[in-house]
Amino acid sequence: MSIDLMQSAGIEDLASADDLETLCTSFGSLLGVGIRIVDAEGRGLASHRLLADACEYLHGFPSMTGECESFFQRILKPDGDADGHVVHHCYAGLAYATMPLHYDGDLLGNIVLGPFRPSRGSGAAGQAELTSGVDRAKLETLVERTRSISAEGLGRIFSAVVTLLLVILRMGHKVMATGLAHTLSVEESYRQLLEKNKELEDHQRRLEEVDRLKSNLLATMSHELRTPLTSIIGYSDMLASGMGGGELTEDQLGYVSTIAEKGEGLLGTISTILDVASLESGRFEVERQRTPITEIVESAVHKVKEASPRRDVKLELGELSSAVVVVDPEMVGKAIYQLIDNAMKFSKPGGHVQVQVRELSQRPKGDEAVGYVVMAPKLNWVEIMVCDYGVGMPQEIQKKIFEPLFQGDDSVTRRHGGLGLGLALVKHYVAANEGRVRVESTEGEGSTFYIRFPREEEPERPSRG
């Protein structure tokens, strides 16, 4: 059976048999009347029995016992439609009263009180057929001996019994619900833990495998590529500086310088590849902290200017914002640096590159409208734009430009060479800080790169509602 918090419970689930028995006994002996509690089907749960003398007399006649039984069967099962208590008269001239017990809208059972002697005016006595041999006069004297209860008295008794019984049920219900909720919560936590555990184990195994492969690869790459390259650069530098002995011709000097320059470029590319690889293997740490975005942008701009002071491209810092973001400033700084550096590279001589920071407050799209009033502060962004008026790029390249091993066709690769890896790195850096990056570009007119991060709400904007 599946149990859940929505289930309804019966009396027997909510109260112990002992408690019900105690309730019956204490009320029964206090009032000098029999009392029993039955469930919704009329099955007995607890009782305090008091047999009236009249009953005992009648039980001496075997056929009467059956009558008595069937009378009980009729009155035990609760009548959910009854409004208050109902008095049932038995053939002996005595009576029982029943009161249906409702709890939280459920009919849970019946309280049966009796036998007692009905006070006059509480309805006609059910003078059923009596077996021959019963002495009517004697029976009536016996009936007179039984305690009489008025309709008013019944009301008071039932009210007390029901109140107390409901208190017991309510307490029982609370205990049951607490226990159930506890059990379910523990089960659920356990299930979650198992799941998480399994996920973690799988993940761990995969990571270990990847890590082993990657470390090997990275170490090898690093060594196999960098070492010879360093030699190439070193020796060409030596040649260029005349350390090879003998003067180089102008042409020779040019060739050797090209070797050194391209070697440097290749070394840069290799370092980027290694960075991307280590980012992909998740082996980097993000140290996020609240930082004004402008600080990061300004420092990146400064670095670009410092790195190549003689470039014939103007770098303009446009609109800025006071927005605060929670990011790793170094990482995001590198990403912005990379974008600006690219933009400068692809600008025409004498051209200019613009950098801007704007706050975006977007209208919800699709399911973002769900809970928007709660989520909106988390959906507000600050956007950094890096805009150049250089060569631009066609649509199909824009789509692939952030892929790590992006390769366009030959001519494209030639024109945009070196761009793919740097941008893959930008994408990683931005994503690791919960940001997004995209590009808009028109061939021959230029490109604009956008990076956005969730904007932190400034805490000092409260107002009274």
Partner: protein
């Protein structure tokens, strides 16, 4: 929703969700005080000594339609404290409608958002979809200083999808409106989904007037526009 065709009985489950201390239990307590003691179901609150909900609170309502159909509404709250996520998930099982009780204080923006995100996840884990579950949002504690402004909430609410109520639950303001709003939205959805009015002799209007009669009309709530 649980339907018992044989006994002509429908049980609707509503859940108040939200971050810790946003006032979910207070909403239930206030609804409870509004109900005439004779008609009152039990407010069952399972809480720790310092009044934090430990498992859930439950306030049941029951109503019998003119056609003899018994409707039970069970209004639950979840425990808002972060550690009780497993319990929240269990309480959300089979929810027909959710009232998100947010804390208006500016300092609670993150907690509200986190709780809302977890609501989506926990519904999904129960096979329910946040975007299609009947949902109302209440911004509670409008009486405090340093809260998000009415203007801001109104502006955002007009862009969002669900009705947004403003409340001061400790003073009972907005409590009834939120509850009735959630119920009628939930009922409308269930009716559409299960053809309730065709299968059962029960009308939305008679339930609403029963509830309004019991806890008062929605006039006291303030609805964000």
């Amino acid at each position: 929703m649980q339907v018992d065709v044989f006994h002509k009985q429908i049980t609707v489950k509503l859940v108040y969700y939200g971050p810790a201390l946003s006032g979910k239990t207070t909403n239930l307590q206030h609804l409870h005080t509004l109900v005439d003691p004779g008609l009152r179901g039990n407010l069952m609150a399972l809480e720790t000594r310092d009044d934090r909900t430990l498992f859930f609170d439950l306030l049941p309502f029951h109503f019998t339609s003119a056609g003899g159909v018994r409707l039970r509404i069970k209004l639950f709250t979840v425990p808002g404290q972060v550690i009780h996520n497993a319990t929240r998930r269990i309480v959300l099982q089979g929810a027909d409608g959710v009232g998100f009780i947010a804390d208006s204080q500016v300092s609670q923006i993150d907690n509200n958002a986190q709780s809302f995100t977890s609501l989506g996840e926990n519904l999904a884990d129960n096979g329910l979809n946040l975007a299609t579950t009947p949902l109302v949002i209440q911004f509670n504690k409008r009486d405090l200083p340093a809260i998000r402004s009415d203007d801001e909430i109104d502006a955002l609410a007009s862009l969002g999808r669900e009705p947004v109520y403003k409340a001061v639950a400790i003073q009972g303001i907005g409590v009834v409106g939120t509850f009735l709003g959630l119920f009628s939205m939930t009922w409308t959805a269930l009716e559409k989904q299960h053809d309730l009015s065709k299968r059962f002799e029960i009308k939305a209007s008679e339930i609403t007037s029963f509830l309004e009669g019991m806890i008062g009309g929605s006039g006291r709530g303030e609805v964000a526009t």
